[in-house]
Symmetry: C2
């Protein structure tokens, strides 16, 4: 461990004094490539400087540096909630990648509340972050437009909006994978628990599913798509609506989120239906729980860590003045017991 020995932190000036040279020389050396002196000083001086810096455990004061360079090397991250496993994992990716590039990341929760999003962004900006990674973008609203107009550097993560730079899972593809899987298993009557309509994750997964389903020859109407909250309660409520609609129940349910899927599974059970037997269930995100449930849940695996890492790379490019294309990382389907068997015969028979 470095510095803070005895309370006093060692500064550039301390090193210079001890070496009998000018602080600017020390600074120059410490900023030149780590082996060559690179015109910053003589080979000999450079070595003495680096040697002493190591010995004294010198670490530059980032606050002071940023005052001059006008860069804080700070990244602000906004997520709906950090206690959402999906966002927590993406944040781990951010944190790793940021550290590798000499950046530090801040994270704050917005609870998907537009006012809170603005408040948190203001806090981040007041802290003078170099850029923002926004993990809670809404398809509606004018926030992103305003940020653009104000030239605040940002990228989206997890959810995308139009052509703003973003790092997401290819959610359309994810939805398609589920459609193909359920179709192959012989299902013909399906419902979608679609999530929140303001989130591209929900919209894309749903539309990917529907368009692929139809292209396979399947039928699905608006009634078969239920928008809901992303949590277990939301999934439970949506499933209840589907099961009590008066129509024959679907033989398969696609919930665009594992938590919603778990809620739906609970509701199916309450109606005396066996998951994986009477009704197939598929979730999304492949959170660590999915595989551990009593009836393991089929789920679309999304590369969450990589999405976080990608977001950091994109924001770097934005900071360099580029306009990177949205990046959509490929998901894969993890088939488990909740949807492994073929559809009930009565249905296949039709």
């Amino acid at each position: 461990m470095g510095k803070v020995n005895g309370g006093r932190t060692v500064t550039l000036k301390d090193l210079a004094r001890e070496l009998g040279i000018h602080p600017s020389t020390v600074s120059r050396v410490l900023h030149s490539g780590s082996d060559v002196a690179k015109g910053a000083a003589s080979q000999a001086t450079a070595e003495r400087v680096r040697e002493l810096a190591r010995k004294r455990g010198y670490s530059p004061d980032p606050q002071a540096a940023s005052l001059r360079t006008r860069q804080t090397k700070l990244l602000g991250v906004i997520v709906p909630r950090l206690s959402d496993l999906v966002l927590a994992l993406m944040y781990e990716g951010i944190d790793e990648a940021a550290a590798e590039m000499g950046y530090s990341a801040f994270v704050m929760n917005s609870r998907d509340d537009p006012e809170e999003q603005r408040r948190k962004i203001d806090l981040m900006l007041a802290r003078r972050v170099d850029g923002l990674i926004i993990g809670d973008a809404h398809l509606d609203g004018s926030l992103l437009q305003e940020l653009s107009a104000r030239k605040v550097p940002f990228v989206l993560m997890n959810r995308r909006v139009q052509e703003y730079p973003s790092a997401t899972c290819d959610d359309v593809l994810g939805g398609e994978l589920v459609a193909e899987h359920l179709w192959e298993k012989g299902h013909r009557r399906v419902s979608v628990i679609a999530g929140e309509p303001y989130a591209s994750t929900a919209v894309d997964r749903t539309s990917g599913f529907i368009s692929r389903w139809r292209s396979l020859g399947g039928q699905i109407s608006d009634d078969d798509v239920v928008w809901s909250r992303f949590d277990t309660a939301g999934g439970r409520g949506a499933a209840k609506g589907i099961l009590t609609s008066g129509k024959p129940h679907p033989t398969a349910l696609f919930a665009v989120n594992d938590f919603a899927a778990i809620g739906a599974m609970g509701e199916l059970r309450s109606h005396g239906l066996t998951v994986g037997q009477d009704v197939a269930v598929v979730g999304y995100n492949d959170t660590s729980l999915a595989a551990e449930l009593p009836i393991p849940l089929t789920s679309v695996h999304s590369p969450m860590l990589d999405i976080g890492r990608t977001a950091v790379h994109l924001i770097q490019r934005v900071l360099r003045g580029e306009q990177p294309e949205p990046a959509a990382l490929k998901p894969t389907l993890r088939v488990r017991e909740s949807s492994a068997s073929r559809a009930p015969a009565e249905v296949r028979a039709r």
Copy 2:
């Protein structure tokens, strides 16, 4: 939203120039109590300053301020993993409380790896955080001692070590509550899935359980306590060990963590045992899943948000030079189906 209008951020000097007064006067006003001028300037000047500051959306540069004040208003938080629901929720509490007091929090993962803990602490210190909230303290190791010696201000959260300031759940009490509950339900043969021995959470919950169990007249030997990882795989493995030990299986299992409990439930099922019927299971933390499982899990509810908030209050006191006592917040038991029925008769009969 404030500042960053057109790229240029408004500074103290800008305000002063526009008002035709000295920057120091502006600074003084902005630091005096929000209504009275408080000797900083005349009532009239103060009003003009505040008015313009609001109008221009002035927000002081914290980097510049910290350079003078030698305080960054930054808090460093280290956790094993943010994707652990328990820590994520505690962090939400930290974030809230920190914001209320004008602080911002950084969080980093250590994966409970001693080397990584040191590395992350160094990164935090290099960023010049005012203090540290350590959520991954190990009972062994010399890290805390070293931090103390170096006079780095810190408090522990979630896990405690000796008399260092800490904000935790009262885990001993939590263990006792479980012992009482299982005893009352008529269980006499119990096992504990005890978690990691380096974590006070594991040790305290286990020891609270054991001592209360014995004080009630119960018998429990070292063989009945299995140390394990905190995750589902750990719980599963521990349960397997218990069920294949050759002894008659216990009628109740206390896992010191919900995830370990879920793993154990899976293993019980694999052995043809019905949770809540043949074997009671109790977890710890009452994570959002517990209540949503097909067989809802009895769990000790720990006030995670409050623990995070308390950690912030404690670090503030440490920063003021005080030495606050460890704070242990009270848990409550949430009884659910996994342990709601009485112990199997054969056992009660003994």
